[in-house]
Amino acid sequence: MTEHASARPAHEPGTHVMSPGILVATAASLMVLTAITVTSSRIDLGPWNVVVALAIACTKATIVALFFMHLKYENRFLMVILIAAALFAALFVSFVVFDTVQYQPEIRAADQAVRKGS
């Protein structure tokens, strides 16, 4: 109620009608990126494979968010929600993986000790 008081483009936020061209182009670019991600996985890039795959996935997710979910035409706050959620999730994953990588040897050793024992 208070947000739309501020000057915005002619249309009201949320009533933007997506043109068929943009919708089709969005779907087409998602298909192309899917093809690229499959192709890139067949090339051995070592640890970079997962980085490339995630980069492409993030690009695809951004495209979905901006056009299919029409965030590009919405109140910026909705984008803040999605980015915040993604950021919290990313930090959650990276903190825990950071921790687990450090104690990996202890798990390996315990694993082997058990195998030796049994």
């Binding site: 109620m1 208070t2 947000e3 915040a84 959650f92 825990v96 921790d99 687990t100 450090q102 104690y103």
Partner: protein
Amino acid sequence: MTTAPAAAAEHAAGDSYLTHGKGIASWLFSLDHKRIGIMYLALIVFSLFLGGVFAMVVRFHLWDPSGGLVSNDAYNKMFTLHGAVMIFLFVIPGIPSALGNFVVPLMVGAKDVAFPRVNLLSFWLFVAGAVLFIATLVVGGLDTGWTLYPPYSLESSRGLGILLALTGVFLAGFSSILTGVNFIATIHKMRAPGQGWFDLPLFLWALYATGIIQIFATPVLGITVALGFLERVFHLGIFMPEYGGDPVLFQHFFWFYSHPAVYIMILPAMGIVSEVVAVFSRKPIFGYKFIAMSSIAIALIGFFVWGHHMFVSGQSKWANIIFSFLTLLVAIPSAIKTFNWLATLYKGHIILKTPMLFVLSFFAIFGVGGLTGLFLGTLATDIPLHDTYFVVAHFHFVMVGAVMIAFLAGLFYWWPKMTGRMYDERLGTASAILIFLGFNVTFIPQFLAGTMGMPRRYATYAEQFVGLNRVSTVGAVLLAAGLGVALWAFVASLRHGARAPANPWGAATLEWATSSPPPHDNFAVAPRGVPPYDYTGLTHASDEAGWIPVRPEGAR
């Protein structure tokens, strides 16, 4: 003295949300946020009572170092249920769901929360969760501790109890998410005309920050308990080492939610304190923007401190150091709030009514709770103190001392608005003093016991701690008596309390601009936003009429 039927007749004169719609179904399926708030309140007070009974068993058991009252197993079940009921069914939903539901739409001058049906769904999810918790009692209890650490909690010998409890937590969690969505949407979109972001009462800023945590942290609790459930049933090998899982991973999951959950508890409490301290000092709150922003800061930093629960769990050294630093940072916004509250008292006109007495005791207790948190966020001192009674005392200072006392402050403060009845100020004062004394006598000895090395969750303990434990048990009796007096004050108020005026305290926030109790649609005339802490426009007419505006309606 007015009799109950006479009081009811008086009420019938003006239509209020209490009289709008008759019969039990008009309550159970009401979409009215005020009725939902009252139903939450009833459940939450019942949970507090239930959790309190478990607590008394625990304390009396510990009178004797060899654990006189019940068996070890029964003791373990008692402290587990005490913790689980208090946390999931009292402190987490207490202020937001019960008091928040009632006052949030009123404070923004709206007719209801943004999504009334979702609100009702949230209430019933909570009821379902609570019922499952009670059901664990029936099927033989649960002795895992509220933290539910595997492998212990998911051992294959465990029966139905753990599955019921996990499902209960899952449902209560979703109830909490939906409440958060509702509050944030309400605060964003339903504000009265002319009510800018910085015209929001600080209680709403606090609930906004709480909402962020409820929405972004609670789903992780959901997935955690879902994984626990599936692990127990299908042996997935995620948490259980015997199938290749990692129990420390559970702790990461659990605390990613459960530490921010501490802020779900304390932020709304701080919000209540901000309201009450300004009203009863008759003076605008000091440093409004800093208090508001520190709520948001606490919510955001609170997401990245969960590792401090895992300093001795086998978490890696560098993760420990990073988490320790981030944890210490939370002290800063908390300090900012405290100093601003004190500055609000300065040169004020301090009225020592019951809500204010609770808030003043909050300052001391939250001071101790917050400062002892430093000992536990600091790595070097946490290692000896971890999982001792020092921790028990610390989180009781924060969760019981600070949160429960703020909850009571809020309940006394909004009671006239909710029920249309004043309470007896003498009973209120007596309860505030008894609770403050009882609380400190209960928990200060536990700091000493913990520092001396008494571990928590012990059914029996070394002879050296017997004195401290007995003092603590005596304190618990005092605390229970204080709560009993508070209950007495409320029951007496319902039976023969004086009629409450629209604005008994002279507060400027919008909920006091409508009648007590409010009509079904909250406001006879849709209000405009006003500065929430400007008391210059109000004058005290009489005890019966309360405070009334000196300027004509609508003037800003």
